[in-house]
Amino acid sequence: MGNSEAAAKAWRRINWIGVIAGVLTIALPFLGKWWQLTLGTGAVFMEMSPFGTDIIIFEESVSGAIGSPLLWWFLLGLKLVIVYLGVVLLAGSVLSISDRHVAIAEQFIHFSARKLLWLVVAFVALLFFIIVIVNQAPGILDSLIGNAPFQLRSDLPYLIGEGEVSGGIEVMRFACPIRMEFTNAFGIAVLAAALGVASRIYQKRLHNKNIT
């Protein structure tokens, strides 16, 4: 077997799907927030991701005021964990090239490939749960309090779209349009998570192929 043929074979043993997933996972904490909420035409603007939340109320950022230092450090830890998972996935995907380290590569990929998917699923599920609670809250309050002096109506969209929150008391009524959308960073997170899962399946195939 010639040198060039051996090199080509080695390149083919790299789990390229895992390499891409690893690089995207490493970049993910630095790509910005995943989801946006706008009240009115900018009365309140909120951006969220598992790595942090930015809130701007009447053109003033209040993230620092309502955020806790403990939460800030915890989210920093989460960012480091995601970067670590990306590095492990990348290392595992590249290590497949070596016969000596193929078992370690397998473990690296097995450990890191699906974790991001759980984070994405947990983030979406949590948002969905909060929206369901907020939309149900007026009905629950109505049934609990009965003839409440205030009225509240919540028609939030489920994660994407437009809706309205309205309500009021005898002397005052308010109505506020709400817009929600996912950002491009969320798209990259979904892509990285999907590629992570695919890299694990691909690694198994690669391993079986090498055994046979």
């Binding site: 009115g40 109320i57 806790s68 230092p69 403990l70 800030w72 915890f74 473990q107 002397v171």
Partner: protein
């Protein structure tokens, strides 16, 4: 290194990272639980969240003068609106009933008015008077005031 050790090391590192960060949070805040958990005094936080100042002394609406036009058949009231908000707002509608003696007249804003952030705007509310006109010495009283505001997309209707 055997498989079990690798698995153990791989899964321990994220826990260590998180624990180190939480310990660092306390260490950088002098091991004080309150300052670590809350960034500032909750009252200050509420004040920052509200778009207006707690101790604002100026009134929102200030009547500057009352004018009679068209031979006493038309009433115009000059009002200065002081906005306590940190953002601009638009008064879309403003109307009120003015009672002067036995006469009642409805005055309203001819068009939308924009008030700058923490600024003031002078507006003129106009309305027709009953044929009897307005007794000049009587003190006008306002009632059934209705105001529609647009604060950066947030629609607010106030009835007084």
């Amino acid at each position: 290194m055997d498989e079990k050790k690798i698995r153990f090391v791989l899964s321990t590192i994220p826990t260590i990272l998180l624990v180190v960060c939480i310990v660092a949070a306390f260490a950088t805040h002098g091991w004080n639980v309150r300052t670590t958990v809350f960034s500032e005094d909750p009252r200050k936080t509420v004040e920052r969240l509200l778009p207006f100042e707690f101790d604002a002394e100026t009134e929102f609406l200030e009547v500057k003068g009352i004018e009679l036009a068209e031979g006493g058949n038309k009433l115009a009231i000059e009002v200065v609106i002081h906005s306590p908000l940190n953002v601009p707002m638009t008064i879309e509608e403003l109307s009120a009933e003015v009672v002067v003696g036995n006469s009642t007249s409805t005055i309203s804003l001819p068009g939308k008015v924009e008030i700058p952030a923490k600024g003031s705007s002078s507006i003129k509310l106009e309305g027709s008077l009953p044929k009897a006109g307005m007794p000049s010495e009587a003190e006008p009283k306002f009632r059934n005031m209705k105001m529609k505001l647009d604060i950066t997309g947030l629609k607010l209707e106030v009835f007084m």
